[in-house]
């Protein structure tokens, strides 16, 4: 690291790197704890753990009528129950610790760079994945998202690893066009929307998995799918997360985006590949919201649309930066050429 940025800068950056590594390790441990919890749960039929380790909403976990016939189920023995509860709590604690380390990484990165920690792909990825985990932790109780634990920890672990291994970039000054207050507003709202859409996408994916299992009559007495909330609950949770994310995305893409684009690039809307893709994402999610109100599109088709939305969202974030060379948003490859504004 250059010394002209001051001694403190290097220390902060070092701290950030260590904190993100620590967060990655703890996310891994949380994932392992979740896996132990859920593998222990597999041995336990659902009815006996109606209110056990996995606190689900009242409507959740109802086994389908005419499920597998079974004799009087033997309650889980004391050690199994203890194991389930302990690992469930452990996983939650570890997730919280990891999220705290994650936050430290972000804050120290911001200190090192003397700006918001989302100036490049690496920073955006670790910030965005933090939004995912923070959203999960905040909504966990309210929406009964405990069943999302293994998926969120796994996903965030992957995102953090991808960021550290492939996207890492040392702290560096911003490209000129990025030096604007809109960096805070525009990118932060885009990031919050991205995190929320990702959570909504997970819910919709599980909706589809559960719907498929129910259709084939394969929702057994045990197993992960059987412990997911009922389809109507999944659909409602997914809708509420999307209903939050959509206005935020609208704000990011269709309000602050054009305003900033006008300031930096002299044009409100350029049909830049990233703009186009963000617009496509917006249209797909608009279609999702319409689909929920259209007969014949509710449920399954709406969930599929939500997944298409997540796909365009993440392609927009990663794909466009790597595959499109015309994009003015392609900050991943450093400041391009003669133009001041990455044109």
């Amino acid at each position: 690291m250059s010394t002209d940025l001051g001694i403190g800068t290097g220390t902060w950056e070092h701290l950030s790197n260590q904190a993100i590594a620590a967060a990655g390790v703890v996310y891994f441990l949380a994932l392992v704890a979740h896996l132990v919890e859920w593998s222990a749960l597999r041995t336990v039929p659902i009815r006996t753990t109606a209110r056990a380790a996995v606190p689900a909403p009242a409507t959740a976990g109802a086994p389908p009528a005419g499920g597998v016939a079974h004799g009087a189920p033997a309650g889980p023995d004391e050690s199994t129950r203890f194991r389930i509860e302990m690992f469930a709590n452990l996983a939650l604690m570890l997730t919280i610790i990891a999220a705290a380390a994650h936050l430290v990484a972000l804050v120290s990165r911001a200190e090192a760079a003397q700006r918001v920690p989302w100036g490049n792909m690496y920073e955006f990825t670790i910030s965005g994945s933090f939004v995912v985990v923070a959203g999960y932790l905040v909504l966990r109780k309210r929406f009964g998202l405990a069943w999302m634990g293994p998926i969120v920890t796994g996903l965030v672990l992957v995102l953090v690893m991808v960021a550290v291994l492939w996207l890492y970039a040392p702290v560096e000054p911003l490209t000129e066009a990025l030096r604007s207050p809109w960096l805070v507003i525009h990118v932060m709202s885009a990031m919050i929307a991205t995190g929320a859409f990702t959570l909504g996408g997970i819910t919709s994916a599980l909706y589809l998995i559960r719907a498929r299992a129910e259709k084939r009559g394969r929702v057994a007495e045990r197993g992960y799918v059987a412990r997911l909330p009922a389809l109507s609950t999944l659909d409602r949770v997914s809708y509420r997360i999307h209903a939050f994310a959509f206005p935020v995305w609208t704000f990011a893409v269709l309000i602050t985006g054009p305003i900033w684009a006008h300031q930096a690039w002299s044009s409100y809307w350029n049909w830049d590949p990233k703009e186009v893709c963000a617009f496509i994402t917006w249209v797909v999610y608009a279609a999702y919201l319409h689909a929920r109100a259209t007969a014949g599109w509710r449920g399954r088709n709406a969930a599929i649309l939500a997944l298409v939305g997540v796909a365009t969202l993440w392609f927009n974030f990663i794909g466009i930066n790597y595959f499109s060379t015309t994009s003015q948003h392609s900050y991943a490859n450093g400041a391009p050429a003669s133009s001041l504004v990455a044109r």
């Binding site: 049909w271 186009v276 249209v283 599109w297």
Partner: protein, 550 residues
């Protein structure tokens, strides 16, 4: 379609449901009016809107994959050159200008028609519904999925009055009257409460705002313009068409309405990063300039001079026009003389950067005093020149060691043919490259304040020094506030339509066996709410007040 009965105007005039008069028609046959009606119904249905939305998303994809001539003309040309077989097909499908293509316009126009056709009837329905009272409570509240009941010793009238009082705080409330079949209030009655009607209002507002945004967008692009100019530091610009290097007006743009400002760029400052991962790149661009809002007529009537530091992200607004700093580069100051010492060319010459280190390419075209004696120079400018293993390289963008390296030509540049030429390219058809007397390659390699004599006594070239140039984008988007207002209203409407929960709550109380049976039911009309807490809060408030009074 061929079976369409357009030969019977009295039938096309009004729609006949399926009366006996139509017995002579074949099954499934529609009149033109019925067909129109059917088409309109289909077009304005939610399902069609949904499909059009998806088509819009699908249609936008090619534009993010295939280079667009409106976005990056150069890249599009390169792509077309590289794909000679695909290009004609793509051109026929307007794939190089997707967002201006007829088929893309067809999608969004259909979507807009569908939107209007959907929204306008809903506006009327909403207006009528808004003035209506909340609906009568259903007879059997326990049949609703979310309901609760309890018995109390209070009289039904007391319970209902309490319910009306409690619910009227955040709801529109209707109560039973004795003439609706319920007999006297002592026997029982109902309270009906409704809230969240603004959800539909928000929904309507959002969709109408989309139209406002499009109107604003249309006005901006029809009446506005966008132009670019490269200005060497020290030069001035006045806002007239002829001063622009490139100009892209809207179809209804009126050149007479251009604001008559003028400005002069006095300097260009840039900080080069000497170390760290972005070494060699630049930041902190500043172009201090002075401007006048009006430079019309003779100079005494010009408005006062003001100054501004033009920077990236900080455009200068003069009236409704904005000036943006979007690029910079070097303009070596070059003098060309002919063999007799006459000055043929003198001044800063804009060189276009070819890479991020500002190695730049440029052309000097000096018209000779006699035909066939034009002198042309073509080559590179290195801001920080260095020789590494005999190879000329450019170290960075800062002008620490500015060096010119060009080839020289003599002949006819074709400047007098009347055909417009680019200042950045030389037509070498009638030009002869100058060589050393021994036939070896001759280069004009110059550092500041150096002069080189051209071979064959053709003349001399002097490199005086380097100036900066700035590339400015000047644009005017009239009435942009309409778009902004539309977008903000759309967001407000969107929030209302997503977060306001339309809900109905009913309370029925009836006297039975000396006590009062109170039934409460709630219905969430958005289909996304959890009603259990609502019910318990209503029941609690009805019972709680009872407790305090007891």
């Amino acid at each position: 379609m061929s079976d369409l009965r357009t030969d019977q105007p009295e039938e096309t005039g009004r729609w006949q449901p399926s009366g006996d008069r139509d017995h002579h028609r074949r099954a499934g046959e529609l009149t033109a009016w019925e067909l129109l009606r059917w088409t309109w119904r289909q077009l304005t249905s939610m399902r069609t809107a949904l499909i059009l939305l998806l088509l819009l998303a699908l249609g936008a994809i090619p534009g993010s994959v295939i280079p667009q001539s409106g976005v990056d003309a150069l890249k599009t040309q390169n792509w077309q050159a590289a794909h000679p077989h695909l290009t004609p097909i793509y051109e026929r499908l307007s794939l190089f200008s997707v967002y201006h293509s007829p088929w893309f316009a067809a999608i969004y126009l259909l979507l807009m028609v569908s939107l209007v056709g959907c929204i306008v009837p809903r506006l009327f329905v909403y207006w009528r519904g808004y003035r209506k009272q909340p609906p009568v409570a259903p007879r059997n509240l326990t049949r609703l999925p979310d309901h609760a009941s309890y018995t109390t010793t209070d009289q039904p009238a007391v319970v209902l009055q309490r319910a009306a009082h409690h619910l009227s705080r955040r709801n529109r409330v209707a109560t039973s009257s004795s003439d609706d079949g319920w007999g006297s209030p002592e026997e029982g009655g109902w309270v009906s409460a409704e809230r969240g009607q603004l959800r539909e209002a928000g929904n309507l507002l959002f969709h109408l705002s989309v139209l406002v945004v499009l109107v604003g967008f249309g006005i901006g692009s029809l009446f506005g313009y966008k132009g670019g100019v490269i200005l060497v530091v020290g030069n001035g610009f006045s806002n007239t068409l002829t001063q622009y290097d490139d100009f892209d007006p809207g179809s209804l743009f009126d050149a007479d309405k251009m604001e008559p400002f003028c400005f002069t760029v006095h300097d260009f400052k840039v900080q080069w990063i000497d170390s760290g991962p972005r070494q060699g790149l630049a930041r902190g661009f500043q172009a201090p300039l002075t401007y006048r809002r009006s430079c019309q007529g003779d100079p005494s009537s010009w408005s006062a001079e003001q100054s501004y530091d033009l920077r990236v992200n900080h455009p200068l607004s003069i009236g409704g026009t904005q000036i943006f700093l979007i690029g910079h580069g070097y303009a070596p100051v070059i003098t060309v003389r002919d063999g007799q010492g006459h000055k043929l060319y003198d001044g800063p010459t804009v060189f276009l950067p070819e890479s991020s280190d500002f190695e730049s390419f440029g052309v000097v075209k000096a018209a000779g005093l006699k035909a066939g004696q034009d002198i042309g120079l073509e080559g590179l400018f290195y801001p920080t020149f260095a020789l590494v293993h005999g190879q000329p390289i450019n170290v960075m963008g800062d002008d620490k060691n500015p060096t010119l390296s060009m080839l020289a030509y003599v002949g006819d540049l074709g400047l007098n043919t009347g055909v417009p030429q680019s200042v950045y390219a030389m037509d070498k058809a009638n030009m002869r490259e100058l060589k050393r007397p021994d036939g070896k390659m001759f280069r004009v390699d110059l550092q500041p304040h150096e002069t080189v004599q051209l071979p064959d006594g053709a003349g001399s070239v002097t490199f005086h020094g380097v100036k900066h140039w700035t590339r400015l984008q000047i644009s005017r988007t009239p009435d942009v506030w309409i778009t902004l207002l539309g977008v903000v209203l759309a967001l407000v409407g969107l929030l209302a339509s997503l977060f306001i929960r339309p809900r109905r709550v009913w309370v029925r109380a009836r006297r039975r066996d000396g006590s009062t049976l109170v039934e409460v039911a709630a219905l969430d009309r958005s289909g996304g709410g959890d009603l259990a807490p609502v019910l318990s809060s209503v029941v609690d408030s009805l019972q709680g007040e009872e407790g305090t009074r007891a």
